[in-house]
Symmetry: C2
């Protein structure tokens, strides 16, 4: 019925999905480089070995492509951070690991985080992105809350903030650090580490 292969049956149903992933990853590189507003489908295609027409073979339109990209971003980002934090076994160590993890991802994935803030802003205007952005926001909030909960357990004290409040505070600190880091400030990464470490205990007063 549909001319577009929305569901591939042939090979383990994977060849199609694999290429989607490949294209989405290339798109992520381009998007992280230029930002949503300045990235065209042709530019994305230039960063692959294919021509621009192929994008409409694997994705209905630009929105579906970007949506798919964003979902991939989440999977990669959250999971990695949890590993860093789950190893701590003292309150001090957890606070340090928290700051360290944020500082590390800021240093290494700055461009991807920039894209995240860009897309989150776009979602304030473009309802098509709202759902995916909200989903990632929830995942990030849960990620932060795991840290807060772990800290509570190790100190034996209960947090005095809600999960969303805690997330908002960390997000504000991270966003500011990102802006400074991209602006060339060498102190941004270190400040983020210190600020995150400083912030955590304040959620228990």
């Amino acid at each position: 019925m549909t001319s577009s292969p929305a569901h591939a049956r042939r090979s383990p149903a994977d060849k199609f999905e694999d290429r989607r992933r490949e294209l989405a990853d290339a798109a992520l590189v381009t998007l992280a480089d230029l930002g949503y507003a300045r990235t065209s489908l042709r530019t994305i295609a230039e960063n692959t070995s294919f021509s621009h027409g192929v994008l409409h073979y694997y994705f209905r339109d630009k929105v579906e492509l970007i949506t798919y990209c964003v979902q991939r971003y989440k999977a990669a980002c959250v999971q990695r951070y949890d590993g860093v934090v789950s190893a701590a076994d003292t309150a001090e160590g957890l606070a340090t690991a928290c700051g360290e993890g944020l500082a590390a991802t800021l240093r290494e994935d700055a461009l991807l985080h920039r894209l995240w803030y860009d897309l989150r802003s776009q979602a304030l205007f473009e309802p098509a992105f709202r759902a995916e952005v909200a989903e990632i926001d929830d995942a990030l909030q849960a990620m932060i809350w795991r840290v807060v909960s772990g800290y509570a357990e190790l100190t034996g004290r209960a947090p005095t903030v809600s999960p969303s409040f805690a997330y908002a505070l960390f997000d504000g600190v991270f966003g500011q650090a990102l802006a400074r880091h991209l602006d060339g400030s060498d102190a941004a990464v270190d400040d983020l580490r210190a600020n995150a470490r400083d912030l955590l205990p304040r959620l228990f007063t």
Copy 2:
């Protein structure tokens, strides 16, 4: 020499500047409505009584127009907030006024604040906006710090955070509240009020 009237001498040198302001205000309305990426000069002109060509008579290019708009935004925004907060004469009253002021501007100027977050994200990609955005960021940080300083004076205790750290925290809270408010959450404004009131004392532990 120059064909563009960069400096009007004739009438009190104001007719020109007045029209710039008029056009910039109309542009602000359109920008707040559609966001930076989706706003064209023709669309801006449609929200005025003039045709699209006039914009290039009063502004060199799109960047100068947007830059000019953003500067107007700052002037209007910061000044108003300071009035709300300067009236408080007790620590409790200041914390309440702080939350109240933020909640009020969230409710009344949500679209303008959305534009601010949009442009700040764009500045992460487009260096042309960096200077103006940084300037506004500094003004907002100073605005927050005036509240913190006032609170310190009224309580007789010294803040335990830096100005930029304090701003980052408030900014995170406000940004989250804005997103929820625009998403239709009725509790967003009240939560912002409560969260801001809650946050202030935490900067002194």
